[in-house]
């Protein structure tokens, strides 16, 4: 039970961080290999506030989110103002992530540097993670269907046209970045209060690429896809544990297969909703009856061509 509980909590925390990255990468088209840094900033902020300054846990989590969001502006403003995108933005984020990790690694006052911040109480429960996941996904879903969310998608699809339609590209991207950082920050806060200790080496660039992988794996322009992927990518290595050394090989192979056969991700450009479930059930029952006008389905060639967000 404790083992399953632990998978559930870590999966749920991962979900929270990944839906944030989904906004930035899946919807706005900015790739990031640095979001572990926002988790680290959030984690340490919450831990310091609660353990050292005796603040309540909820305040620590809120502060974790805001600290991460604010720090995202520090890296976001100069990079997005000079219109970095694609690989260049991803590399800037990689640099930021490493810089943050090394800073934490060498700060021995208060947070104990590379030795690790210990003595954090266990406050994160599965119920809290579940509640925050539900609220978090709901908020993000509201954002992506809002005018801001649509503007993000427009920027991903055709940045030149988006700007010439009057969208303030930098501001919109900064919002997407700040929101994604906020989520990573809160996730980091929850993580610290589950592990009960924090070491900077928890937040390496491989953690960042796990977050990005979940979004790409789950699907561009989708929320349900990354949510499922985020959970699966935590649970899968555990399920494959009986394979010993072959575990990571299969994990990697799975990625390659997905990228070959569904380059837009498992649920790229679609979302699971009540309506789509009903359509699916109807198709199963009605023997392949198509609903809606024939033009609705996307041409597959275009999906692959414009999926990169560059």
């Amino acid at each position: 039970m404790g083992y399953l509980n632990s998978i559930f909590i870590l999966g749920g925390i991962n979900v929270l961080a990944v839906v944030g990255v989904a906004v930035l990468t899946g919807y706005t088209g900015l790739f990031t290999i640095g979001h572990a840094a926002f988790m680290a900033i959030g984690g340490y902020t919450a831990a310091v506030l609660v353990v050292k300054l005796n603040q309540p846990f909820w305040l620590g989590l809120v502060a974790a989110g805001f600290a991460a969001a604010l720090s995202s502006l520090i890296v976001g403003y100069p990079t997005l103002r000079s219109k970095l995108k694609g690989d260049y933005f991803a590399i800037a984020m990689l640099g930021f992530g490493e810089a943050v990790r090394l800073l934490l690694n060498n700060t021995y006052k208060v947070i104990n540097g590379a030795i690790g911040f210990t003595g954090i109480p266990l406050y994160t429960t599965s119920l809290l993670v579940l509640a925050l996941d539900i609220v978090g996904i709901w908020l993000i879903r509201n954002f992506v269907i809002s005018q801001y969310g649509k503007n993000c998608v427009a920027i991903r699809e055709q940045e030149v046209a988006a700007e010439l339609m009057g969208i303030d590209v930098m501001k919109t991207k900064l919002w997407a970045l700040a929101i994604s950082a906020f989520y990573a920050g809160v996730a980091g806060g929850l993580f610290g209060f589950y592990m009960t200790y924090l070491v900077p080496s928890m937040f390496t660039s491989s953690k960042s690429s796990d977050l990005l992988a979940a979004v790409v794996f789950g699907g561009i322009n989708s929320l349900t896809g990354p949510v499922l992927a985020a959970f699966l990518l935590v649970a899968l290595p555990e399920l494959l544990r009986f394979l010993y050394v072959w575990r990571l090989v299969i994990y990697g192979l799975l990625f390659v297969i997905i990228m070959i056969f569904r380059p837009q991700g498992l649920l790229g450009y679609r979302d699971i909703s009540w309506a789509s479930l009903k359509r699916f059930a109807g198709r199963l029952g009605g023997g392949g009856r198509r609903s809606g006008p024939g033009l609705k389905s996307p041409p597959p060639a275009r999906v692959a061509a414009s999926g990169g967000g560059r």
Binding site: K150, Y269, L295, R302
Partner: protein, 280 residues
């Protein structure tokens, strides 16, 4: 008002003498190349101005300068009394200049309706916080935007495709959608970059009718870059001819067709290339 007397459009309803856009000695230089050299254009309210010239004359570059995609090296662009040269593209767009592109630039994965909606909510009418919690003002504004977007689609006859992905539309309809999207920003000035490119004669005729109706109904100022001479000569009471970055001639279609400099620019080049071919 009499300077556009030769045009086929209902001049009395639309054209006035109020200057909406003016470029003064507009120039831009790429390295050693003067792509646009001391160009003076004047667009009045309700104008339907044609911009023609051989390839590489600088027509699209002028559009890029006006919309802020390029920064002029010299000269001014005055739009409704404001100097806009060098301002950010989104700022200029929100001031009331909208455009379409030579190579279509829709948002291919978004629905037809969403494409037009972007033109309506480039600057959202509510805050991010209201968006996150989906407060009443956000819901209401979204509904209003959808309704207006539908109206824009109806006007160009694309309402039945509102749910389709923009990238899945046939070429001609994509062109129309781009115009609808540009119109959704409620511009004062519309810049169309070769909107009839790739159309056959028949499609051109229906496009002329469509554009003429749009112009009459909205009273909008339009600048049109076009290589189909019949489209330009038919639609535009006033035409600028560009060559090698400079204004070669300005006038009504009849004057332009008779202008020896224009004829030389179009035919002379061809003769030169023919001779170059002989030598090789």
């Amino acid at each position: 008002m009499d300077k556009i007397a030769t045009g086929g459009i209902a001049k009395d309803e639309t054209a006035t003498d109020e200057i909406i856009l003016q470029t003064r000695d507009l120039s831009v230089q790429f390295g050693g190349l003067k792509a646009v050299n001391r160009v003076n254009l004047t667009v009045t309210r309700g104008d339907l101005l044609g911009l023609i010239g051989p390839n590489g004359a600088g027509k699209t570059t002028i559009f890029n300068l006006i919309t802020g995609s390029l920064v002029p090296t010299e000269g001014e662009i005055i739009f409704r009394g404001h100097q806009i040269g060098g301002k950010r593209p989104d700022v200029i767009a929100r001031m009331g200049i909208s455009r379409t592109f030579q190579n279509i630039r829709l948002f291919p994965q978004m629905s037809v309706l969403e494409n037009v909606a972007i033109g309506l909510h480039a600057a959202p009418k509510y805050t991010v916080l209201e968006a996150l919690f989906r407060l009443p003002r956000a819901v209401r504004s979204d509904r209003e935007v959808n309704r207006k977007a539908m109206e824009h689609l109806e006007r160009v006859g694309l309402a039945e495709y509102h749910d389709a992905k923009a990238g899945s539309l046939p070429y001609g309809l994509q062109r129309k959608l781009e115009i609808a999207r540009a119109m959704a920003t409620s511009p004062q000035l519309l810049l169309l970059d070769e909107p009839a490119a790739g159309m056959n004669n028949e499609e051109c005729q229906s496009f002329i009718a469509f554009l003429r109706q749009l112009h009459r109904e909205t009273g909008l100022s339009i600048v049109l870059i076009e290589h189909h001479m019949n489209v330009v000569m038919d639609l535009c009471p006033r035409i600028y001819v560009l060559n090698l970055g400079e204004v070669l001639a300005e006038g009504d279609p009849r004057e332009i067709q008779r202008n020896p400099a224009v004829i030389r620019a179009y035919l002379g080049e061809r003769r030169r290339t023919a001779r170059a071919g002989d030598r090789a």
